[in-house]
C-alpha cells in the first residue's frame, strides 16, 4: 500500500480497495461441462434425424422390406437396384431429375448474379424491391403451389389470358389453334413449369448468400477499376465474379442439392404426369416406396444418385477451398 501515501490518503483518492478474487468455480465456468451441454442437442439431432435414417435407408435398399412388413429383413443384395433400372418410369425420373436440376442450376446462377448486381446498387425503391425478392422464400410451399396452379391452370390460366389478349394464343396465332397452352399437361411445358417454380422458390436464398459477399467487397475496389479504365463487363467478370466464386458455388450447390431431393413442387403440380413425362427420382421413390408399399425399392431409388451427388459436392467444395487458398 505504498501508493496510498502518494495518492494522499486512501478514500480521499476515491479509489476503494478492490475485492479479492472469488474461489468459487460455478458449473458455467467449467468449459468441458458447458461444451458438452451445448453440443448435445446438435449431436442428438444429427444422429437421430440424419445418421439413423440414412443407414436405415441403405439397409432397406438391400432388403426386401415392404410397408406391410418393414421388419422382415431378407438380404437381397443389389436386386432392388437392378430391377428398378428396367422400369420405364425410372428412366423418365432419372432423365427429368437431371434435366430439371441442370436447368435450375443454370437459370439460378444467371438470375442470382443479375439480382445481386441490381441490389448492390442504390436506386429509389430499393427497400421494397428487396422485400419483394425475399417474399418467395417466406411463402409456404403449399400456398405458393395454389398460386402457381392457378397461373398454370388448363382453362383459367392468367398467362394464357394475357397471351390471348396480345394475340399470341388462340385459333390462327403463333402459339397454335387451341385456346390454352395446358402447361401441366404437356411434357416439356410441365418440366419447364417445374424448373420455373424451383427457381422462383430458391432464388431468394442464393441471392441473399451471394449478396452478403458482394457487399463485403469494398467500394474502393470498384472505384479503382473505374479509374483503371475497366468497363461494366470487365469489372463483372474479372472482379465481381472471381471474388464471389466461392459463395456462388456454395449457394448454388446447396440449393441444387435441395432441389434434387425435393418432391414438393412436382407432387403439388404435375404429379409426374402426363404419364411419366415429368416424373422425378424423389417423387418416384415416394410413389413406389410409400404409396406402392415397396419400401426397399423406394429406398433404392432414393439412394440411386447419392454417390454422384456426394462426389459433385466434394468436388465443388474442394474447388472453392482451392480458390480461397
Amino acid at each position: 500500500m505504498r501508493n496510498e501515501t502518494v495518492l494522499g490518503g486512501g478514500a480521499a483518492g476515491g479509489y476503494e480497495e478492490p475485492s479479492q478474487c472469488s474461489e468459487h468455480v460455478a458449473i458455467a465456468d467449467r468449459d468441458g461441462v458447458v461444451g458438452t451441454i451445448m453440443l448435445a442437442p446438435a449431436v442428438i439431432y444429427v444422429i437421430a434425424l440424419v445418421a439413423v435414417p440414412f443407414f436405415l435407408a441403405i439397409a432397406l435398399s438391400l432388403s426386401d422390406a415392404t410397408v406391410g412388413n418393414p421388419s422382415a429383413h431378407q438380404f437381397v443384395g443389389f436386386d432392388n437396384f437392378t430391377s428398378m433400372i428396367y422400369e420405364a418410369a425410372f428412366t423418365f425420373a432419372l432423365r427429368n431429375s437431371i434435366i430439371i436440376t441442370a436447368a435450375t442450376l443454370v437459370l439460378l446462377t444467371v438470375l442470382t448474379i443479375l439480382q445481386v448486381e441490381l441490389l448492390a446498387r442504390d436506386f429509389p425503391g430499393k427497400r421494397i424491391a428487396q422485400i419483394l425478392l425475399i417474399l418467395p422464400w417466406a411463402m409456404p410451399v403449399a400456398l405458393a403451389a395454389i398460386g402457381w396452379l392457378w397461373l398454370l391452370d388448363s382453362e383459367f390460366s392468367p398467362i394464357d389470358w394475357l397471351l390471348r389478349a396480345v394475340g399470341l394464343l388462340g385459333p390462327g396465332t403463333v402459339l397454335g389453334p387451341a385456346n390454352n397452352l395446358y402447361y401441366l399437361g404437356r411434357e416439356w411445358l410441365g418440366i419447364g413449369a417445374v424448373v420455373v417454380i424451383n427457381v422462383w422458390r430458391t432464388l431468394p436464398l442464393s441471392t441473399i448468400i451471394v449478396l452478403a459477399g458482394r457487399t463485403a467487397i469494398p467500394n474502393e475496389v470498384y472505384e479503382q477499376a473505374e479509374l483503371d479504365g475497366a468497363g461494366y463487363f470487365r469489372t463483372l467478370f474479372q472482379i465481381t465474379l472471381p471474388a464471389l466464386a466461392i459463395l456462388l458455388i456454395v449457394a448454388i450447390l446447396f440449393t441444387v442439392l435441395v432441389i434434387f431431393g425435393d418432391m414438393t413442387v412436382v407432387a403439388l403440380t404435375t404429379r409426374g404426369g402426363p404419364g411419366y413425362a415429368t416424373e422425378i427420382l424423389p417423387y418416384w421413390a415416394y410413389l413406389k416406396g410409400i404409396q406402392g408399399g415397396a419400401l426397399s425399392q423406394g429406398a433404392a431409388i432414393a439412394l440411386f444418385l447419392f454417390p454422384v451427388l456426394l462426389a459433385a459436392s466434394v468436388l465443388a467444395l474442394r474447388m472453392a477451398y482451392r480458390r480461397e487458398g
Partner: protein, 343 residues
C-alpha cells in the same frame, strides 16, 4: 506532364456543403499536397478531380481542357487509395496488368511496361503473390506500380501512408517523393498530417470546412500564415496565438526565449511567462507556461535550446522576449493576417 486546374468547385450532399468554391491550379510536374483536419472536404475534392463525384458547380481542367463531364476512365488520372484497393483475388502481376488490359495494350508492350514498373518499385520478386500475403509497405508499392504502369498524366494519392506503421512510413514517404522525382508526373497528395504535407510538397494547400485557406510553399505557410487557422495548424507545436488589444498576435514557439538567455536582443516584445512544466524532446526542450496581464492568462509554448534551459525554473514567473520581426498579427474577428500593430 499535366497541369491540373480546379475552378470554383462546389459540392453539396443534400443540405451539407462539402466544398464551397475551391480554386487551385498545379504547376507542371508539381508535387502538391492538400492538408486539413478530417471532414474538411479534401477527400471529396480528390474524388471530384478523379471523376468519382460530379461537382455541384465549377469545373476541373486538365491541361486547359475541361474534363468535368468525362467519366474517370477517360481522364487518365491514376489514384492510389488509402486502402490501396488491390484486387484481392489477382496476383501482383495481374493487378499491375489490369489497367493495361482494360486499355487493350498489346501483350508484348504490356509485359515490357510491367517489368519497368516492377523494377522502378523493386517488387520484381513479389509478382506471383496474392495481395493477402503482402505487408502494408509491399501493398503500397504494388498500388504505386499499378498506378504508374499506364503512364497517367496526373497522380492522386489519398492518405497512402496512413495505414503503415510509423517506422515504415518515413521510408515510404521518401520513396514516394523519389518516385515523383523519377517520373515527373504532376501529383496531388491528400493527407491530414501536416508534417507529411510540409515534408513532401513543393507547395501545400490547406483546407478547412470545405474552403481553401492558403496555398503556398511550406516556408510561406510556416513563416507567413495567411490566417489564424493556418498558423494554428502548421508547425509542431503550432504558433502561439494570443489576444492583445483588439488583435491576435502570433509567434512560433522557437522565437520566444528567456530574456536572461539573450540579453543582447534588441527590438523585442516582452512577456511575463509563468512556467508550469518543462519537457525534454531530445534536441530541444519544450516549456509550457501561462502569460497573464494584458494577454489574459493565455497558455503559451516555448521551444528552448540547450543553453537556455538553465535559465528557466518550473513555478517561476520569467521574462520572455520575442523579436518584433517574428510577431504576426491577425484580425480578431476574421482571423485574417493584418499589418503589424504595437505590442
Amino acid at each position: 506532364m499535366a497541369i491540373l486546374e480546379v475552378r470554383g468547385v462546389a459540392k453539396h450532399f443534400g443540405d451539407f456543403s462539402a466544398l464551397n468554391g475551391i480554386d487551385l491550379a498545379t504547376r507542371e510536374g508539381e508535387f502538391l499536397t492538400i492538408v486539413g483536419p478530417s471532414g474538411c472536404g479534401k477527400t471529396t475534392l480528390m474524388r471530384v478531380i478523379a471523376g468519382l463525384e460530379k461537382p455541384t458547380a465549377g469545373a476541373v481542367l486538365l491541361n486547359g481542357k475541361v474534363v468535368t463531364p468525362l467519366p474517370p476512365r477517360a481522364r487518365n488520372i491514376a489514384m492510389v487509395f488509402q486502402s490501396y484497393a488491390l484486387y484481392p483475388h489477382m496476383s501482383v502481376v495481374d493487378n499491375i496488368a489490369f489497367p493495361l488490359k482494360a486499355r487493350r495494350v498489346p501483350k508484348a508492350e504490356r509485359e515490357r511496361r510491367i517489368r519497368w514498373a516492377a523494377g522502378v518499385l523493386g517488387i520484381g520478386g513479389l509478382l506471383h503473390r496474392r495481395p493477402a500475403r503482402l505487408s502494408g509497405g509491399e501493398k503500397q508499392k504494388v498500388a504505386l506500380a499499378r498506378a504508374i504502369v499506364r503512364k497517367p498524366s496526373l497522380f492522386i494519392f489519398d492518405e497512402p501512408l496512413s495505414s503503415l506503421d510509423a517506422q515504415v512510413r518515413a521510408m515510404a514517404r521518401a520513396e514516394l517523393r523519389q518516385l515523383h522525382d523519377r517520373t515527373g508526373v504532376t501529383t496531388v497528395y491528400v493527407t491530414h498530417d501536416q508534417i507529411e504535407a510540409v515534408g513532401l510538397g513543393d507547395r501545400v494547400a490547406i483546407m478547412q470546412a470545405g474552403a481553401l485557406r492558403q496555398i503556398g510553399s511550406p516556408q510561406e505557410l510556416y513563416y507567413e500564415p495567411a490566417n489564424t487557422f493556418v498558423a494554428g495548424f502548421i508547425g509542431t507545436p503550432p504558433m502561439n496565438l494570443l489576444k492583445h488589444a483588439g488583435a491576435t498576435v502570433g509567434f512560433r514557439p522557437e522565437h520566444a526565449m528567456p530574456r536572461a538567455a539573450v540579453p543582447q536582443f534588441k527590438d523585442v516584445a516582452t512577456l511575463q511567462v509563468c512556467i508550469t512544466r518543462v519537457e525534454f524532446l531530445g534536441s530541444e526542450w519544450l516549456a509550457y507556461g501561462t502569460v497573464d496581464g494584458e494577454f489574459g492568462n493565455a497558455k503559451v509554448l516555448c521551444k528552448l535550446r540547450e543553453e537556455a534551459i538553465g535559465k528557466v525554473k518550473v513555478g517561476e514567473v520569467q521574462e520572455f522576449v520575442v523579436p518584433r520581426a517574428q510577431l504576426r498579427f491577425f484580425d480578431k474577428e476574421t482571423g485574417r493576417r493584418t499589418a503589424p500593430a504595437p505590442v
